[in-house]
């Protein structure tokens, strides 16, 4: 989420869901929280019960809208215009929180000479190269005025924690070769062990104008940039009314300030756009101006699209990251040895001066005794990346036949990938494919059940289906949307041949190691010396005390202990093994510590204390003893901002963390996200370095200047300010920047399998957006095989307005066909007034909504919305654009309907429940 990273320093949700109950107003936009995160929606409802105002801005009137006080319907893909309008309203009506903005943001910082805004260049920022369709930030002078006018180095870690990573989609890299992208501090950081060295800010603080009158200060640029985002322009672009827009603006302003706070909630409705990162940036700017960051009931709550997606970025499944946001070494940079890698990727300044400690501890965790100072801790064994292997590009390669084999764990690209047809074409081109899943998903049966595919005889892919254990039949930890690690125990053994993913990977690793055990080839050393020892010390038992039936199941606690880390020089007398680390501050660079993921360190501080497994409810409303949140169990980030520059709470009502003059430290219910004993009065000397360069009144400690960035001198690849561009496919012209229809940095992967409609007015005049239902999960691999869920939403449908239905002759409940440049699907018509035709730029624009839960495998099958979406990538994280594309609709079916692949079982069975006395059989059993 570089959008949040560029604004505040870390690319993760700034707060926790429970804190939404403390909000006075919640703006939900780009999220259908009630339907997609129903359990978390408890907290907005708590706020509402206390009298908070809930606002939903969305293309569709959803179950979320039904529960909000105010719903505003807008066109899919017009979010930046709406948010820009809000920013403009706050500025022109002088509603911004002046004390907060002056002290805690870079509003007063002078921008480098030579920077030119979109207002000056008619739609692009300075530094744009039309040939490459990329920006060169240094040529564009996106930086602060200062020594040489340098911008803070991009590698300074302003980017977020990887891609938006939603809906099972893979995150991807920033740069064309990956490694440039993930700002180091996208992950965690700590300042509780202050380091010397300077931040990368130019020597001393950048020049500022506290009066905000300098035409080159960030605030003046901001005002000019959004001056044309008037309520009328918002109306023309988004399709809402002026009154609706003003009501939202008024509510936000009335509920922000010292006494009140407004929270913002978004999800994949914002990320899945070619401008997704900039939409989130716009939200960040709005929240900075209103002074809502780091304060209770405020912040920006990023809702993740999948269980433990946060965990899979922290201990990454990403090709260009090592655990803890350390970059994967590349083949094309100065990464030949550890010293140059540390020099190039680490930082002489700030907390990343510890970079070497983390990479050495990681190598010790992976290669054990083989890793020595003499051999560079086996740094040369790490694989190097030489290209973009993010999901979109990887499947693009696969579709061209450039990939031989693939493992799929808990992912269904054949059903849920953007332009799923192209993904299936990729799968058909493989030699072999391993699918570990509960059910035979689209990605497992694409070779026989796909109605759009050639006959099975022409498909050469050999598919190995591995039955996977369910969550109740395995142990492990989840990292949820608010960075909280929660452990779950194993309740029962998995049935039959089902095995946990961990079992599969562990035993596969063991076999590979056995295969190479006798090899003398040096290239096999990484396999031979990989530490791979997670066997149970004693035969594992189930909760009822009986022995587990499963042979070879690894001990997941041992994996978490390795992630937590050990001090290899100290032996714990209780276990006779190396002592567990109590936190990442104990990591060493001499090889005396091993740590599998430094940001998680502290989760397993004692042999019998797994903090992720703790479930203690206390009087503290923050509940710090429920699970473990990285870093350092801080639940709300940037919480120093909950106090004024002098360290006093902004108001009694919004008290959270404050400076205790007697104790000489920051106190409150949460862990302070600040140096615990740095007084508010502290001011750095001009030549201070590292954390010492951050004053006691600058809460955004991940930033070299300690402040949130209204103007982002780095961290994004598509501009320092969010500007409204139309989606890659849109039937509406860009009213704000007529010269640039879509974002000039969007990447299209056009080809026969991925045609794009750049000028779709006549052929594809309707805007389509995909959405999720509560009743189903993602592309349906876990829900379309369950008759209790299928009966609740049994068929693919499309939501459309009565007006559009009448125009096209479509009947409610009847069949309709939806076509995009990528193909056609069929669906039942759900004609509803919840969808409204919008008046955009003086003409009627229709929208339709498509749930993305159906495809051709399971008990219920139907048209796949992702067969219509395209392979289009944003420049920052290679995110596709599933939330806004174009289509045409007509009545009738497509003619190639899929057939269910699973017979509907009269489920549940009528047999008695096992191990249950007659009198205790379920009430519904008819026997």
């Amino acid at each position: 989420m570089p959008g949040l990273g560029a604004s505040f320093g870390r690319g993760a949700a700034t707060s926790f869901q429970q804190d939404l109950a403390n909000s006075d107003c919640i703006l939900i936009m780009g999220s259908n929280m009630a339907e997609a995160h129903p359990v978390g929606f408890r907290w907005p409802m708590k706020a509402k019960e206390k009298g908070a105002k809930l606002i939903h801005v969305d293309p569709r009137f959803t179950r979320t809208s039904a529960l909000c006080d105010l719903f505003v319907g807008i066109r899919a893909g017009s979010d930046i215009a709406f948010l820009g309008g809000l920013i403009n309203y706050v500025l022109t009506n002088e509603k911004w929180f002046k004390d907060y903005v002056l002290a805690y943001t870079n509003a007063s910082t002078i921008v480098a000479e030579g920077f030119q805004d979109t207002e000056e260049l008619e739609g692009v920022f300075s530094g744009y190269d039309p040939q490459k369709q990329e920006y060169d930030a240094s040529k564009g002078h996106w930086g602060y005025e200062g020594a040489g006018g340098d911008k803070p180095k991009q590698d300074q870690g302003v980017e977020g924690a990887g891609g938006a990573a939603e809906g099972g989609e893979q995150k991807s890299q920033q740069g064309s070769k990956g490694v440039h992208g993930y700002g180091l501090m996208g992950g965690a950081s700590s300042h509780s062990t202050p380091q010397s060295e300077s931040t990368a800010a130019p020597a001393g603080q950048p020049p500022r104008d506290p009066t905000l009158q300098d035409p080159r200060c960030a605030m003046q640029y901001l005002r000019r940039h959004y001056a044309r985002y008037t309520p009328e322009m918002v109306t023309q672009t988004c399709g809402c009314t002026v009154e609706q827009f003003l009501e939202v603006a008024q509510l936000l302003c009335d509920n922000s300030g010292p006494e009140r706070t407004t929270a913002l909630v978004y999800a994949v409705g914002w990320t899945q756009h070619t401008t997704g990162v900039q939409i989130i940036r716009a939200a960040g700017i709005l929240q900075m101006l209103l002074g809502n960051m780091g304060r209770p009931g405020g912040g920006i709550m990023a809702m993740r699209g999948h269980a433990s997606i946060q965990g899979s970025t922290d201990v990454p499944t990403l090709y260009d990251l090592l655990p803890g946001y350390l970059p994967q070494p590349a083949a094309d940079k100065g990464h030949e040895d550890l010293a140059s890698y540390v020099k190039y990727e680490g930082m002489p300044t700030g907390y990343w001066a510890n970079f070497r400690k983390f990479i050495v501890s990681l190598l010790k965790a992976w290669y054990g005794e083989a890793a020595t100072p003499e051999n560079d801790f086996c740094f040369s064994w790490l694989p190097r990346i030489d290209d973009d292997y993010s999901q979109l590009l990887f499947f693009n390669k696969m579709a061209k036949g450039e990939v031989k084999g693939y493992f799929l764990f808990g992912q269904n690209p054949g059903g849920g990938g953007p332009n799923a047809r192209l993904h299936r074409a990729g799968l058909r081109n493989l030699d072999w494919l391993v699918v570990a899943d509960w059910f035979e998903t689209e990605s497992a049966v694409f070779w026989k059940n796909d109605p759009t595919a050639p006959p099975s005889s022409e498909i050469k892919t050999e598919v190995f289906f591995i039955p996977a254990a369910s969550a109740t039949a395995k142990e492990g930890s989840f990292t949820n949307t608010q960075r909280l690690l929660q452990w779950h125990d194993k309740a029962v053994d998995p049935e039959g041949d089902c095995r946990s993913d961990l079992w599969f990977v562990y035993n596969l690793g063991k076999r590979i190691k056995q295969l190479y055990a006798d090899s003398t080839d040096p290239k096999d050393d990484p396999i031979k010396h990989l530490t791979w020892d997670y066997d149970h010390d004693e035969p594992p038992r189930l909760p009822d005390g009986s022995l587990s039936r499963i042979e070879g199941e690894p001990n997941a606690s041992k994996v978490l202990q390795e992630i937590n880390g050990y001090n290899l020089k100290e032996i714990d007398s209780r276990t006779g093994k190396p002592k567990l680390l109590s936190g990442f501050s104990e990591c060493k660079e001499d090889g005396s510590t091993a740590c599998g993921c430094w940001i998680y360190s502290g989760v397993f501080p004692e042999p019998d204390r797994n903090r992720a497994r703790e479930r203690k409810i206390t009087d503290n409303p923050v509940q710090p003893e429920w699970g473990f949140a990285w870093p350092h169990n801080r639940r709300m980030m940037y919480n120093r901002a909950s106090a004024d520059p002098q360290g006093r709470p902004w108001s009694e009502r919004k008290k959270y963390i404050w400076w205790d003059e007697e104790k000489k430290k920051w106190v409150g219910n949460d862990e302070p996200d600040f140096e615990p004993d740095k007084p508010p009065s502290y001011r750095p000397a001009p030549d201070c370095k590292g954390m010492d360069a951050i004053s006691g009144a600058e809460p955004f400690i991940m930033k070299p200047d300690g402040r949130a960035w209204l103007f982002a001198p780095g961290g994004t690849k598509d501009g320092p300010f969010p500007a409204h561009y139309e989606a890659g496919e849109s039937p509406v012209r860009n009213l704000l920047y007529p010269k640039y229809q879509a974002s000039p940095t969007t990447r299209y992967f056009e080809g026969p399998l991925n045609p794009i409609a750049h000028t779709p007015e006549s052929e594809y005049p309707i805007v389509a957006t995909t959405f999720r239902l509560t009743e189903h999960y993602l592309s349906g691999p876990m829900s379309r095989f369950n008759s209790w869920l299928n009966e609740l939403q049994p068929e693919m449908f499309a939501e459309l307005s009565p007006e559009l239905a009448e125009e096209r002759g479509i009947e409610h409940g009847g069949w309709m066909t939806i076509s995009s440049p990528r193909g056609s699907i069929e669906a039942r018509a759900m004609v509803t007034r919840r969808i409204k035709p919008l008046t955009i730029d003086g003409r009627i624009v229709h929208q339709i909504g498509l749930p993305f839960h159906w495809a051709f495998a399971g008990e219920t099958v139907g048209g796949n919305a992702n067969d219509l979406t395209s392979l289009t990538a944003d420049p920052n994280v290679s995110m596709h654009e599933g939330k806004a594309f174009v289509c045409e609709v007509r009545p009738g079916r497509t003619g190639t309907p899929a057939q269910p692949t699973k017979k509907v079982a009269p489920w549940p069975t009528r047999e008695d429940s096992p191990d249950t006395p007659k009198s205790a059989q379920p009430e519904g059993h008819l026997k």
Binding site: A34, E35, P38, V39, F41, R42, M45, K48, E49, G51, F61, R63, T64, S65, A66, L67, F71, L773, T774, E775, S787, W788, L789, N790, E791, L792, Q793, P794, E795, F797, H812, G813, R828, M830, T832, R833, R834, E859, T860, V904, P906, W907, P908, S913, A920, P922, E923, G924, H925, L926, K927
Partner: protein, 285 residues
Amino acid sequence: MILQQLPVLNELSNAFPPRQTPVPSPGSDTQPLMGFFTDTSVCIGCKACEVACKQWNQLPSDGFNFTGHSYDNTRMLSETTWRHVAFKEKIGGEKSRWLMMSDVCKHCEDAPCQQSCPTGSIIYNEFGDVYVQPDICNGCGYCISACPFGVLGRSPEDGRAHKCTLCYDRQTDGMQPACAKSCPTASIQFGPVEELREKAKQRVETLHAQGNTQAYLYGADSLDGYGRLNSFFLLEDHPNEYNLPEAPPQPLHGQETRYALSLLTGLVLMLLSALFFSKGDNYAR
């Protein structure tokens, strides 16, 4: 009514269905009456209650039928559906609304199903909840026609009537019903009915204070002569919008008059036929 003064007639009318029973009392002095308060103002229509109910009680799916009735593909309570989330789209006007309500057996204080049951299968259990004992049910179906809310259904599989048990088995183990447990927004609340009524009244006051003057309680007090519901609702629109009767008919009220009338009719018919046959006799002779 005068007829009620006649003990013979009263006994007669109570001898065979329908019978009247005293208002339920819990099993012991320490056990309060247990019930549901369903607050539709916070219902998000997630249907977790439907799934939790089916899972706990091992009820089968009712088949895959796309109805087109908003997001409601369940349509009604039945022998295999004991919780049902109703959806009603009211778009337009000053504020667009989408009403959602999780419907369930009302566990009436004065339950017609219980009163109409000829075998004594339907009882009030020790928690004061209306409970069908399947091993006693003979499948006559009187309860189905007696229920003014359409809660019960008869299973084609075993021929018996089934409905929400208020998770009797979970309650006996000290747990709350599956639906209430799974509800993410506390729209379904379970507890002693007296406490729930107090809580609900406060909730209505709060909503009124916040400007939501449409909120009111359905079934917390008697409904136009129909006894109170131990599973009652907070609604924000007319009951008909949620497919609930404004004044549920209590089929047993006025039963004495109907008995007397039918007795009278019989007598009149007897008299008429006696006259007819006597004439016939004359004719034959």
